[in-house]
């Protein structure tokens, strides 16, 4: 079969997307469970104690993957939003809608575990380090995208307005990151340098990568499941509102 035979637009309608998402979800769920299990086993049981930080460093096995996912998912969400605006494709807005809560959840986790890691490492729950601060801003941006969507009743407008905001955010996050780093150099001594990451043993790196992969698979599974909910909810709303084809009479004189 040649490549041209594949209809790439087959899955561009919600009707086709729904069963596809349903079929894929269990596979990604299984992968997520296996990878996270393996990651936890290596990270908690096999990886050696860090000679500088002791065992508190093990927090990075959830902190770093969560932080990566939070940023990655925002970019993916913005990408779907851009596709939606560019191609006027409803399913890509639905993808963006399905991604946002998971991204926000990972951002929250990255903040929480970062704080829990910071307390034994830096002796304080919070430092105004560029990465943590940007993560906090990212959390606000996720909240903004989600709240903007829920405050607009018209689905079309909600889709497009939150897409525009997601894109504005994606331009701003690097600028915010840079500005906070700049701010840190200006106020030396006010904060602790966060670049003192432990030198990674191979085992540690492996655990972190596997956990990241696990989080990734988890995200795909849960996002696809939520996508199904989104599709169904929208279908239901339109059927309740009465999607009646009205006959149109036009008479000329």
């Amino acid at each position: 079969m040649s490549v041209t035979d594949i209809n790439w637009f087959k899955y561009s309608s919600p009707q086709a997307l729904y069963p596809l998402a349903g079929k894929l979800t269990p596979w990604f769920s299984a992968l997520a469970v296996i990878l996270m299990g393996a990651g936890l086993y290596i990270g908690l049981l096999l990886a050696p104690t860090d000679f500088q930080q002791g065992d508190s460093y093990r927090i990075i096995f959830v902190h770093v993957p969560a932080a990566w996912m939070s940023m990655f998912l925002y970019v993916v969400m913005a990408l779907w939003a851009a596709i939606g605006l560019g191609l006027k494709a409803r399913p890509s807005y639905m993808m963006a809608q399905a991604i946002a809560p998971t991204g926000a959840m990972f951002t929250f986790l990255a903040l929480l575990t970062g704080s829990l890691w910071g307390k034994p490492t830096w002796g304080t729950w919070w430092v105004w380090d560029a990465r943590l601060t940007s993560e906090l801003i990212l959390f606000f941006l996720y909240l903004g995208v989600m709240l903007l969507r829920t405050s607009i009743d018209d689905a079309r407008r909600a889709d497009r307005a939150s897409a525009v905001f997601a894109l504005v955010g994606v331009v701003n996050v690097p600028i915010i990151y840079f500005s906070v780093q700049w701010w840190n150099t200006l106020h030396q001594g006010a904060s602790v340098s966060a670049t003192a990451a432990p030198k990674m043993a191979a085992m540690m790196l492996l655990a972190m990568l596997i956990m990241s992969l696990g989080f990734w698979m988890y995200s795909i599974a849960v996002i696809l499941a939520r996508l199904r909910c989104v599709i169904r909810e929208r279908e239901e709303r339109s059927s309740v509102a009465g999607q009646v084809e009205r006959p149109v009479a036009v008479g000329g004189v």
């Binding site: 941006l141 903007l148 405050s151 525009v164 905001f165 955010g169 600028i175 915010i176 500005s179």
Partner: protein, 227 residues
Amino acid sequence: MTQLGLTDAVRDVIRRDLLVALRRRADALTTVVFFVIVTSLFPLGIGPEPAVLRMIAPGVLWVAALLSCLLSLGRLFTTDYVDGVLEQLVLVPQPLTVLVGAKVAAHWLISGLPIVLLAPVLGLQYGLGGDVLGVLTLSLLLGTPTLSLIGAIGAALTLGVRGSHVLIALLVLPLFIPVLIFGAGAVTSYIAGIGVEANLSLLGACLMLAVVLAPWATAAALRIALE
């Protein structure tokens, strides 16, 4: 009757908004009075220690400017949206991004410029010296247009939306952070004797970027809101 071009349209949009603001002075005054009150409250809350006041002055004045801008954003498009003027603006046969730029320019003239001009006076309350006040004014002059430009995106996105007042703050304030950091940073580093060029250049860069990108996003958001 002669045909009018883009520059005429830009001038007319600005002129109309200024004329409306002039007829409705209370609105524009509210923003300025808010700025004055907020900056005057801090010394009362913190204490009259001159060294402390000098230290917090750049941050306080900048945060107050930022909040005043936020306060005035609600008016940027809402009245035009309600009375149908916005609808007509979108239908003007000129690029909407440019007309949006004109609206933002008018907004800055009405609520940004007074703050820039008042800031040095209020800086005296904090015991800032003459040259520091100059740097403060310059940083506000470069930074407040960026605030108006970014704020316009939020104002357009929340047009006619439930609870838009709170929502606009949530959308816009995180995006204000770089301007706040570079703006207040310019003053702080001048006081610390580090030099202000880097901060002011970065403020200028933010402004350039906002001038290029923000009207485009705002115009898109306005079209979405008017559908």
